[in-house]
């Protein structure tokens, strides 16, 4: 479904991605793990057309996306729920969801919103509230709900558990598991190694702009190298 080959990108003279290759297949949950500053968020931004790639290819369901702008990528069904949520704080919860379907026809939008409300009952309670007044966990749900409004074929989730309380983190991972169970392909970009590996089928470890390790999640879970990198154990 998603095939990334030798992707390079950066800001000015600084190269952040130094040749990244990875795949996500239909219906799969893939985790991309790595500590702060290794280029995970840049990778997501390049995939969603916000930061231009300097070289390499991105194919999504057969179409070349490396030179496309964000609207075309969203229309193709590759949707990125960013780190830090980036919801519209000055718009109501419902308006946030409506804009999630900005690239889709208006018809059926209301039904889709009802579906999202069914998945996230809390959002329905707060439908008319400004999104900026939601709690961190609710904002994260809204961000995911907004992403789902775009009718994704592949959903990129960037640090969905960041800054949430332990209880909320549990809830978030349970939710992601439910989405995955419905057949949606998910690329999960996380620092939360243990829970991500439990959820994902396969995983990539990123270090300093390149993939250093990849394989089935269960294998990586018992990999000593991984623990060394994260805990110095």
């Amino acid at each position: 479904m998603l095939e990334v080959r030798d992707l390079r990108a950066g800001y000015g003279a600084t190269e952040v991605l130094r040749g990244v290759s990875l795949d996500v297949k239909a219906g799969e949950v893939v985790a991309v793990l790595g500590s702060n500053g290794v280029g995970k968020t840049t990778l997501n931004k390049v995939l969603s057309g916000v930061v231009p790639a300097t070289s390499g290819t991105i194919r999504f369901n057969g179409a070349a996306l490396e030179h496309e702008a964000a609207p075309a990528i969203v229309t193709a069904g590759l949707i990125h729920v960013p780190e830090g949520r980036k919801i519209f704080p000055n718009l109501s919860v419902r308006e946030n969801l409506e804009l999630g379907a900005y690239c889709r026809p208006r018809r059926g939008r209301a039904e889709r919103i009802e579906q999202i409300y069914a998945t996230f009952p809390k959002l329905k309670q707060r439908a008319r509230q400004y999104a900026g007044t939601l709690s961190g966990g609710e904002q994260q749900m809204l961000a995911i709900g907004r992403g789902l409004m775009g009718e994704p074929k592949l959903l990129i989730l960037d640090e969905p558990s960041l800054g949430l309380s332990p209880l909320m983190v549990e809830e978030m991972f349970a939710l992601i598991a439910r989405l995955a169970a419905s057949g949606l392909a998910i690329m999960l970009v996380e620092q939360n190694v243990v829970q991500s590996l439990e959820l994902a089928g396969r995983a990539y470890i990123m270090e300093n702009g390149i993939i250093t390790l990849s394989g089935p999640a269960s294998e990586l879970n018992s990999n000593a190298e991984l623990k060394r990198a994260y805990l110095g154990l």
Partner: protein, 290 residues
């Protein structure tokens, strides 16, 4: 000094002129709120709109109020093109670049108009230019009463566009969260250009409202530019209700200070408000923290 009737009349007329100021400031504050740029060419673009209205009336015999229906789409298109093809690309997205490019544009526009129309001032006379409306004992200028009404209507229309249409919601979304907007597939350059275009269309409405009772020369807009900035800063950069209330307030202040200080010193009151607001409360009366 003055009889209460003269003072009240002056203040009411000021209030109504303030409404037109508010309309000019509305475009400016919308552009600031979304693009986060100070559009220094706003005054010059107002002059362009006023010349368009003048041409429509003087050459083609249109009523200035009806001319708005033609000038507004024209200004809308001009604004879209300016932002999309000149201001956006030329400024490289830098604050300072935008400031200088819009300053350059204002000088280009002003002097192109000067070359085309010379520095003469031009007016339109309509049979209602000097008509007055009697409100009990008070006499109010008819064009200003119309101006007040149309401003309120335009503001309502703008509010509806911003809250009920997809592009309006996209504009509000981009104002606060550019990255998030891109990620739902909103084209930020298009939204920027649309916002600029709407701001320019507001100028067209203001121009149509001003022409029956005002004059236009290539430098007319320059006189409005600091007034408009004062309103925007006073109301809070980016705040639409702020621009409306700020405009009315400034209209009253101007009327009061020219009544008591004379026309030339009267302007100082506005500039002092501007300076003091910037120094003491740069976020304005209604603005959130920058």
């Amino acid at each position: 000094m003055y009889s209460p009737q003269i003072v009240v009349e002056a203040l009411l007329n000021g209030l109504m002129l303030g409404a037109i100021y508010a309309l000019i400031a509305l475009g400016l504050t919308l552009i600031y709120g979304v693009l986060h740029i100070v559009n220094f060419a706003h005054g010059a673009l107002l002059t362009v709109a006023m010349f368009m209205v003048w041409l429509a009336c003087a050459r083609y015999g249109l009523d200035p109020y009806l001319a708005i229906l033609i000038v507004a789409p024209a200004m809308f298109a001009l604004g879209y093109a300016l932002q999309r093809f000149i201001i956006g690309p030329a400024s490289h997205g830098k604050d300072n670049g935008i400031l200088l490019v819009t300053l350059g544009l204002s000088i280009i526009i002003e002097n192109a108009l000067l070359a085309a129309f010379q520095s003469d001032t031009r007016t339109i006379t309509t049979d209602y230019s000097f008509r007055v409306v009697e409100l009990g004992p008070l006499l109010l200028s008819f064009p200003r009463v119309i101006g007040f009404g149309v401003t309120i209507a335009t503001t309502l229309l703008l509010w509806l566009v911003l809250h009920q249409t997809d592009i309006g919601k996209a504009i509000r979304a981009v104002a606060k969260e550019k990255l998030g907007a891109s990620l739902v597939g909103i084209s930020v350059p298009h939204v920027y250009a649309m916002t600029f275009a709407i701001g320019c269309a507001c100028l067209a409405v203001a121009a149509g409202l001003l022409m029956p009772s005002f004059y236009v020369s290539p430098k007319t807009g320059a006189a409005f530019v600091l007034v408009a900035f004062t309103i925007v800063v006073l109301g809070g950069m980016g705040s639409i209700p702020g621009a409306l209330i700020g405009g009315l307030l400034i209209g009253v202040v101007e009327a009061a200070s020219s009544l008591f200080l004379g026309d030339s010193l009267g302007q100082i009151g506005i500039f002092l408000i501007f300076i003091v607001t910037l120094l003491v409360r740069p976020t304005g009366l209604f603005g959130a923290r920058a």
